[in-house]
Symmetry: C2
Subunit: 365 residues, 2 copies
DNA sequence: CCATTGTCAACAAACGTTTGCGCACGCCCG
DNA sequence: CGGGCGTGCGCAAACGTTTGTTGACAATGG
């Protein structure tokens, strides 16, 4: 036992080290400590006092109270990410992208799950605004979305990601869903499928309508007239996909292939095919969207439209920080080119190519 | 076009409605508005003034500035969840549990990913402390963890979840890993397996050592002496599980069964078995731990030890809020009884039973 | 030797709340 | 009619920072 009177890290258990306390101990005014701690460039100070203060700062491990700082400086160094459900691997990866980009800049990130409920979304945003978060990244917006307009009106910096809204003039990061939907459908057409079902997203959400348009466009390009019964709304959950797939497969002349608006809904369809004893891809081919990690683990693995999920989050964070830095709302849009990844759910014996590297296809303004 | 001079929501675009501004408009002192807004019980006020103020509050949709409020009241209504990686479905579900329990109480929740790095963990906690979060839920703690001791010393309310630390006297929510490890191993023993490999967690983490102890205890109970070469450390990632499984299966007399410390590592082993052409469960049986959603989607589905993940988060949040409310650090521990779920990765043709409902096995103090 | 300049650090206001205290006014009752 | 009491609300301090301005003192130059 070396030294019975071992010192604790902080001499006394008093936790909140404030400028005033330090000032008393250093025999200087609080403002002086503040300037030293903040490395105020236009501060001239006598070397001895500076060293005395710096020593004290190190000794006490002083960190300014972020709340007080936030009040004075009008910035909290907190961002918020609003998503339907972090339990969905797509949104989990998206969040990581945001944190990985924002954390090095000193930001912490709040996570808000809405479960797709406009009410929860609104209530979260109210709360975030009251907390004076520096910005919001929203991946749960609707095509017509009062809360987006509210954000705009309140002057809160924000970026929409994956789903756009209204006129699409908000700062946005996402993929070209029209192209993506077309790619997926064309792939099935080229494989010879003629009755292709679509597990469609909601008409209230941009991804839903745009991927559906891509699907229809691909059919039209082949001169095929779409069968309305082959398009059934599934939402974005596994269960939703399962129910919709059941309806599709109960049809008299059922589709030989399905394009699902999302990997998770595709997974739902997978389960149904399994339960019905339909072999994938021989009796039913399936294409998803997003290329979540789960896609490669299905057996057979899931053909899907790849988008750089992590990069969605990171790019959105960068766009947001840019707005915060400049103080100017942006209208920049970063659109990635989706890329078809052919796997076993459409083609027997298909391997997955090396992980594709995507770069922004184009960015306006 | 009805009414060209349509009013906007707020009469002018000035966003930050402050007490002072309202006070000027209502011809009263800011403090009076504050008391009305907060429904101060011991406030006596003339009905007319009250109504005037309440009308104004509604009209302007006044919400007190949370930062200023936090400074004065010394509570931010912000919690933080610290985890290795939200991309792991286990932690995503855990987070949902926390948010679902904390959100109704007016809290927002910060999410911090450490990737298992002590440095990142420490830096996150420093930041959280500077922000004066009201409490921390930590699911990334090590057996010997300076940051846990630091939390204790700083007097920051906290709860450990899934992994305990040190003496295990911190407020904690988790499962009985010793029992869980034993259940998994006994199941394999009962199936007749005698060479059972273990994809082990790290010795620096409580789940790692405890589940390993459970594994060894089950072997010992059968009078089997464990083969050291059958225990290989895998960490907690899919890749880690894959690498460890490769080593295990490269052994001269390789194991016929594997108990993996975690579902994700089990998934890694799954992949290896697939690549090696080993049939599961006939040539290799696999048991995981945690029962993440992915477990039911593997083919064959994964036998695993079920723990109520969402409830982990919710219980931890409740424990944390309790400490915050009382102002007293707690020593309560909530331990759930793990439950073996037999599926196709150990027994051919095994169905999954109805979702088990778990209640806390016991709670100390 | 006095005025000017320069160096160092203190002063004070402000950010937007909350809350204990006290003041003025009108009413009642003696 | 006057003292006391209750009602209704304002005053001001405090939470912990940041930052523009001012002031004291020493040094320097003419």
């Amino acid at each position: 036992m070396l030294g019975t009177g071992e010192r604790l890290v902080n001499e006394d258990m008093s936790m909140p080290v404030t400028l005033k306390e330090l000032a008393a101990r250093a025999q200087v005014h609080p403002s002086t400590i503040s300037r030293v701690a903040n490395h105020d460039p236009k501060l001239r100070i006598a070397p001895p006092t500076r060293q005395r203060i710096e020593a004290l700062l190190r000794e006490t491990e002083y960190r300014p109270n972020g709340v007080a700082r936030g009040l004075k400086l009008r910035q909290t160094l907190v961002l918020a990410v609003v998503i339907p459900d972090v339990t969905n691997p797509f949104f989990a990866a998206l969040f990581r992208g945001v944190e990985d980009a924002a954390s090095p800049r000193g930001y912490n990130v709040l996570l808000c799950n809405t479960d797709g409920s406009p009410a929860r979304q609104r209530s979260h945003l109210q709360s975030l605004h009251a907390r004076r978060v520096d910005g919001v990244i929203m991946a749960s917006s609707f095509l017509k979305d009062p809360t987006v307009r509210w954000l705009r009106h309140q002057g809160i910096p924000y970026v929409l990601v994956n789903r756009f809204s209204d006129d699409g003039h908000d700062p946005f990061v996402g993929s070209d869903d029209l192209v993506g939907g077309r790619l997926a459908t064309e792939h099935l057409l080229e494989l010879g499928h003629r009755r292709i079902g679509h597990l469609a997203g909601k008409l209230t959400v941009s991804t839903g309508v745009t991927r559906r348009r891509g699907y229809l466009a691909a059919l039209a390009a082949r001169g095929l007239t779409p069968d309305p019964r082959l398009v059934v709304e599934s939402g974005y959950t596994e269960d939703g996909g399962a129910h919709a797939a059941e309806r599709l497969l109960a049809l008299a002349d059922r589709p030989t292939a399905i394009f699902a608006v999302t990997d998770m809904t595709a997974v739902g369809a997978f389960g149904v095919a399994l339960r019905m004893g339909l072999r994938v891809p021989e009796e039913l081919a399936i294409v998803g969207y997003n290329d979540i990690p789960l896609a490669t683990r299905m057996v057979p693995s899931l053909t899907t439209v790849h988008v750089p999920i992590h990069e969605f989050g990171a790019a959105a964070a960068r766009l947001l920080l840019e707005q915060i830095d400049t103080g100017e709302p942006s209208r920049r849009r970063v659109i990635f080119n989706p890329q078809l990844i052919v796997r076993g759910s459409t083609v027997t014996g298909a391997g997955s190519p090396a992980n594709p590297q995507l770069v922004p296809a184009f960015a306006t303004e």
